[in-house]
């Protein structure tokens, strides 16, 4: 049905054309789910955009052929190409929060799309919309579709998005990371839905993703891409079961397994970075950090912590019910241990991080740090010792570094802020050493954050946290914005740092497999309540809470027989 041959996409720039995709080939049959996998910058989305004819200007198709059935997609003029969009090829985007027009009801958006492509009365279009939404698993669709997108949850919205893509019976749907922004439970429902639509309606899917677990679970065939080039393709069982190319193996190896804990991850070859402690290096930053934590590592404990936010007031007379984000949370982190915190979005993971760092004031409960009382919120003074001892690494490395400061200024800040190093030249020297310690070139010190990739920025964020000489590190989804290979590197780095300096780490993630690699103990949260708390091995091997079992069973994993080929 879809045949792509020798596709080359170029983006003109001041320094000549940049080739985003080179000599790409793929075929998708009706009812086939074709996975397109690779890391960010591999050109996956560009292939999808080229097929549907929505390449971001000034990008253009420089060579190759694109056929959908008998239609040569490259010869279509603007009007014909636009008429074909939605009619024969549709698209599903990554983030259901942003891919629906917030000002129009679901019904208006569906009816509009149906009537665009078919000469059909409004009431017929409405009836079709109701059927479709019900097929997607939205109950009481006739009433629900009068609602606006913000009145639906993330998973429901993605169903609406799929309904919109499907409502004109297209032959091909390009799904660009359709489940990346969703929780595991919702992800598995959406993947099931996609599988069913492919089987029943014989729609072809181009499933663009960076998650090999998703590919392993539902794709019939797979194409591996790297830097715009085709690495390997074929039926999923063949490519993942007997990977021919080294890169495919590396990519699979970098995926954290759910069923065991690795000491270190294998890292794709030319992304190498010097690992800590592998060579007998003398690093001043390392010595400096060791000197700071020569005293014993410290622990942290929470007792009955509750955080409630006031609800939105809608009346003069009634006080709104508060929204309880964390409900009676108690746990203890032993000195030098790693506590993993897992849960879906909205479970209170990030609220917990904010409470620990003193950004939020708990409504009830007490916290202690190294046995001493730790006040919450504004009660914790600007100069409270914990401001230095607890440091944080955030999820998004693009917004957590000030883009107007040089790396040197960013890294020196904790040193003068906490009065650790008085002399500016010494601070700079130490910042350089620290860059070396986290595996970055020292010349990075005079650059700006935008000159680095996501993984490099996250290393800088870790370096900044370490320069405060912390004893407790709170990592809030530190790898969620990163590719698997970069994630593997960062996890290696965190493991090394933890081993070398005895840091106490609270590692927050929605990804159970990632947490397994890091955590000694695991806390499972749901709707602000503790579902399970225990040693990592127990929680993963013998989960006691039903919710933990559910999360574990829904996480996409690679079948064991495929995973063993990994180097």
């Amino acid at each position: 049905m879809l045949r792509v041959q020798g596709l080359t996409v170029k983006f003109p720039s001041r320094f000549g054309d940049v080739t985003a995709v080179e000599d790409m080939a793929m075929q998708i049959a009706p009812g086939e789910i074709h996975g397109l996998v690779g890391e960010s910058g591999a050109g996956k989305s560009t292939v999808g955009a080229a097929v549907i004819g929505l390449l971001q200007p000034p990008g253009y198709v420089a060579a190759g052929s694109l056929h959908l059935g008998e239609t040569d997609l490259r010869t279509l003029d603007r009007t014909a190409a636009h008429r074909m969009r939605g009619k024969r090829i549709s698209m599903i985007f990554q983030d259901p929060q942003t891919s629906l027009n917030p000002l129009m009801t679901i019904e208006d958006q569906l009816v509009e799309t149906i009537q665009t492509h078919e000469d059909i009365t409004t009431s017929d279009a409405q009836a079709r919309a109701v059927d479709l939404l019900e097929e997607m698993g939205i109950r009481d669709a006739a009433a629900r579709m009068q609602a606006y997108p913000h009145q639906f949850s993330g998973g429901m919205r993605q169903r609406v998005v799929i309904a919109l893509a499907l409502c004109t019976n297209p032959e091909l749907i390009i799904a660009d990371e359709p489940t990346t922004a969703l929780d595991v439970a919702v992800q598995s429902q959406v993947l099931d839905l996609i599988r069913r639509l492919a089987d029943v309606r014989k729609v072809g899917f181009m499933l663009i993703t960076h998650d090999i677990g998703v590919i392993a679970q539902i794709a019939d065939s797979v194409t591996v891409m790297r830097r715009g080039k085709l690495i390997e393709n074929g039926p999923t069982a063949e490519v993942l079961g007997r990977p021919q190319h080294a890169y495919t193996k590396q990519l699979m190896g970098a995926v954290p397994p759910l069923d065991r804990r690795l000491d270190r991850f294998p890292v794709p070859e030319d992304e190498t970075s010097p690992a800590l402690g592998t060579a007998a290096r003398t690093n001043k930053a390392e010595d400096w950090l060791l000197e700071g934590v020569r005293q014993n590592p410290i622990g942290l404990s929470l007792d009955g912590i509750t955080v409630a936010f006031p609800g939105t007031r809608t009346s003069f007379w009634h006080k709104p019910a508060p929204f309880v984000a964390l409900d009676d949370i108690s746990f203890e982190v032993r000195p030098g241990a790693v506590l993993g915190v897992v849960g879906e979005s909205g479970s209170g993971k990030s609220t917990l991080a904010k409470t620990l760092t003193g950004l939020l004031k708990p409504t009830a409960g007490t916290m202690t740090l190294a046995g001493a009382d730790l006040p919450g919120g504004k009660a914790r003074g600007r100069h409270h010792a914990s401001r230095q001892l607890i440091q944080m690494v955030f999820q998004d490395p693009f917004s957590s570094l000030n883009s107007r400061h040089r790396i040197g200024a960013i890294l020196s800040e904790p040193l003068w802020l906490y009065g650790l190093v008085k002399d500016a030249a010494d601070r700079r020297a130490l910042a350089k050493e620290m860059l070396d310690l986290v595996g970055m070139a020292p010349d990075a010190i005079d650059k700006y954050p935008h000159q680095f990739s996501g993984g490099q920025r996250q290393r800088i964020a870790v370096a900044r946290a370490l320069l405060a000489r912390p004893k407790v590190l709170i990592c809030d989804e530190p790898t969620s914005a990163l590719d698997v290979s970069i994630q593997a590197e960062l996890l290696n780095l965190l493991k090394d740092l933890q081993a070398a300096f005895g840091l106490t780490i609270i590692f927050i993630s929605h990804n159970l497999a990632v947490v397994r690699q890091m955590a000694d103990e695991v806390l499972v949260l749901r709707n602000g309540r503790v579902q399970e708390l225990g040693a990592a091995e127990d929680v993963y091997e013998r989960p006691s809470a039903a919710y933990t079992r559910e999360l574990l069973s829904l996480t996409p994993v690679m079948p064991a027989e495929w995973a063993q080929h990994v180097p």
């Binding site: 990554q94 983030d95 606006y148 009634h318 709104p320």
Partner: protein
Amino acid sequence: MAYFIGKRLIQSVFVMLAVAFLAFSLFRFVGDPITQMTGVETSVADQERLREELGLNDPFALQFMRFTGDMLQGDFGFSYRTRQPVAEMISSRMPATLELGVVALLISLVVGIPAGVYTALRPRGAATQAILMVTLVGVSIPTFVIGIMLIFFFGVQLGWLPTFGRGGTVTIGGWETSFLTVDGWRALILPAITLGVYQLTLTMRLVRAEMMEVMRSDYIRFATARGVPMGRLYFRHALANTMVPVITIIGLQFGGVIAFSIVTESVFQWPGMGLLFLESIRFVDIPVMGVYLVVIAFFFVLVNLIVDLLYVAIDPRLRIKDVS
């Protein structure tokens, strides 16, 4: 919803009280009202009697309460200059200013919004560059220069349009309107353009910036990928999503247009509130100035309340359900 409006109304009351206090201070403390009202020949005893009669010896708080109370009952006091009630003077001038402001606003919207959409969709086109340049020149030149230039070309050189006054007006129920006569419209064109140019540029640039932002959003890309016709895409999907910030600025600007039409009114000898204000300043007619202040503040508060309600009408995400 009722809570939302109620909260806004209470805030508005405080704003109005603050402005009334300013107006009152102006009246009470900028010069001595008795000296302003009386001539040199009034004896000191008479002045004292007048002072006592007008309650100027009462405590400050009492005087302010009386001032506010009088205002609420529609009693705005008398002009020093013409001895007429201020309420009458302001209300006879208000239609001229409001009509001028509304027409200026309409011109800025009718031209500004489509121009903003066009320049956003064709950011590199020659027409876009030309529009952006011309409007930049438009805002860079002071309003009165634009007014004088328009008078020079269309009034003096070409002789097409009148250069001052309101032309023919018709009075309906105490409202003197120039909308019902050809002469009235002819007289309205030049001042309305003069007053609207700045708003037009602002609206256009804001619509352009917002539109370019929205066109990059996921839901526009998704709508494009579904094949939604381009016209609907631009106007139904994209333009509607630019409206919240645009309306905020238009609202604030409209208050400004009413308040600062002074320059335009004086260039075109437009008999509106702005001209009245200028005359009052010249004769230190403090009661008129004070009331003008209160009336303008009232317009600002009213327009902003309307803007807040429009937000809710435009964006369903702001519609908080009442707890019943």
